[in-house]
Symmetry: C2
Subunit: 313 residues, 2 copies
């Protein structure tokens, strides 16, 4: 039996998993992300952790097929990171850098894309080979897999759908500097932003007026109770998200959209609302694209990273 | 030296090319597309033409690596055609059907996608591996190549960007039944449609008022002469096309957009106008995507078809 490591590098912690080549997760642990000194300790901390875990499980170099890694920023197919602001990293080849510390092949990818591969392999997209994962969290990210392969894009920015320009009339600014990005409507913070606009622009009675501060979960909960204002807010989200997914479908025509991130905990109500607008906007040949909710939660990254390492064998 | 055939099946004629494996076009000819009886003669006409051309060039089966083919409709990666209305075809596997007639491997793809591969191989996208071709003709089509591979999509509809829903306020219907599709603005007929709307909605003097009927070429010609109304019309086209390309970039992040089809004869004025809006709408990591004009014209399809056949060897 051979093994791989799957690593998901986040801004505050690094999730790590040891997998058998048959996909079973053997061990799972976290180490903190030390971003001081331009994140110069991150890779040596990962290397130390891999080596001590190999010792603990009595594994030698020849037992390990490789190390997969998700990184929160653009990564080219050969491992070149072009500035990763959340980690303090400048531009360098992360595959080569980590590989030289542990003497194992390393395969890095963008974290959202790697999570997509994880969900396709063992999660909400299992059994499919053309999958788009949309991560609806603090921001909105995406990952594109066609015919079983990750799409990286020419500058590692394929699937950066959070900044798809979806409303030309928006006056509020997105973090990226543009206005009208999908993230301004479909992230957890975006939903709350729409919510506040609705709350302040009318007098409609609403459960939401009794809650402070209102979260995206409060808005979905109220919508489930048929709160009129909450339904208007979620309808606006569904419209923008359905429109963005119809754009994605016209480009890569996936079998299934997998919705992940904290907002996807809303579940069926989110899927059905979004699907309705998607079908209205989409080209007829794409209208039956399936929808599901991500299943691996925070483990999607380590699963996907393990899958990348395995796919090279 | 080995050879391949590249075939581009259109609604009125079938373009055919015999290529050396080193990319040189040896011979090029057309046969008519007989669409009567649900297009049942099309494949046998192609087979007859291939066989007579092999005889003419003294080639035997062992000299030919395979036959690539572009088809005007959705085609799955293994050659399944799901209704091809322009040819009268129902649903069947076109690779198997033609292969059984000529005893050679056949590799079919959607015509727009196949043309993309041709432009990447020997045309406006030469030297690049992440290319999006946008065909601006009677309709609007597209083809997506990432990392050198055609993206087919789950129902063969990847790159069907003509029906990207780009304006939610449009009241005119598109041929597809929806409203607000890119094709309604950026096809040759779409540009004339916008032109007529502008001409009838104002009294602004314009060269265009002296021409009847106005074509998309007339509109670009007038814009080059700084005709105010023509500039407003082309600006509207650039805005919609730039927006659609920014959506595409956020999904697949290509190195280069190649604009093809009759409208692309407008050249630099079209590229610069579209690029300006693209850069305004696109995520910063995609903003430097290059633009070029297709170079192979009507031969893009046979080149791309030849490339598909070669890529399997």
């Amino acid at each position: 039996m051979k093994y791989v490591f799957g690593i998901d590098v986040g801004g505050t912690s690094i999730k790590m998993g040891l997998f058998m080549e048959t996909a079973e997760l053997v061990d799972k642990w976290n180490i903190p992300t030390i971003t001081t000194n331009n994140g110069s300790r991150i890779l040596s901390d990962i290397a130390d952790s891999i080596q001590s875990k190999m010792k603990q499980h009595s594994l030698s170099i020849s037992d390990i097929l490789g190390v997969g890694m998700g990184v929160p920023g653009p990564v080219s197919q050969d491992g070149f990171v072009d500035k990763c602001v959340n980690l303090g990293w400048d531009s360098f080849n992360v595959n080569n850098a980590l590989s030289s510390l542990i003497n194992l092949p390393v395969y890095a990818g963008n974290d959202a894309t790697v999570a997509t591969l994880g969900e396709m392999w063992q999660g909400g997209g299992k059994g499919h080979h053309n999958v788009v994962l949309i991560t609806l969290g603090t921001g909105v990210g995406g990952g594109i897999v066609t015919n079983g392969n990750i799409i990286y894009g020419s500058t590692g920015s394929a699937g950066e759908i959070g900044h798809m320009h979806i409303d030309n009339n928006e006056t509020d600014k997105c973090n990226c500097g543009n206005s009208g990005c999908l993230e301004q409507y479909a992230s957890a913070t975006g939903i709350v932003r729409i919510g506040k606009k609705h709350l302040s622009s009318c007098e409609t009675p609403s459960i939401l007026r009794t809650i402070n501060p209102v979260t995206s979960k409060d808005i979905f909960d109220a919508a489930r109770e048929n709160d009129k204002l909450a339904l208007e807010i979620t309808d606006e989200l569904y419209k923008y998200l359905g429109l963005a997914l119809s754009h994605i479908a016209s480009v890569v025509n996936p079998e299934i959209f997998v919705l992940g991130g904290g907002v996807s905990n809303a579940g069926a109500i989110l899927i059905e609302g979004t699907r309705q607008y998607f079908q209205k906007f989409a080209f007829h040949a794409c209208r039956n694209t399936q929808f599901s909710v991500a299943k691996l939660g925070n483990d999607a990254g380590i699963y996907g990273a393990a899958k990348i390492a395995l796919s090279f064998h």
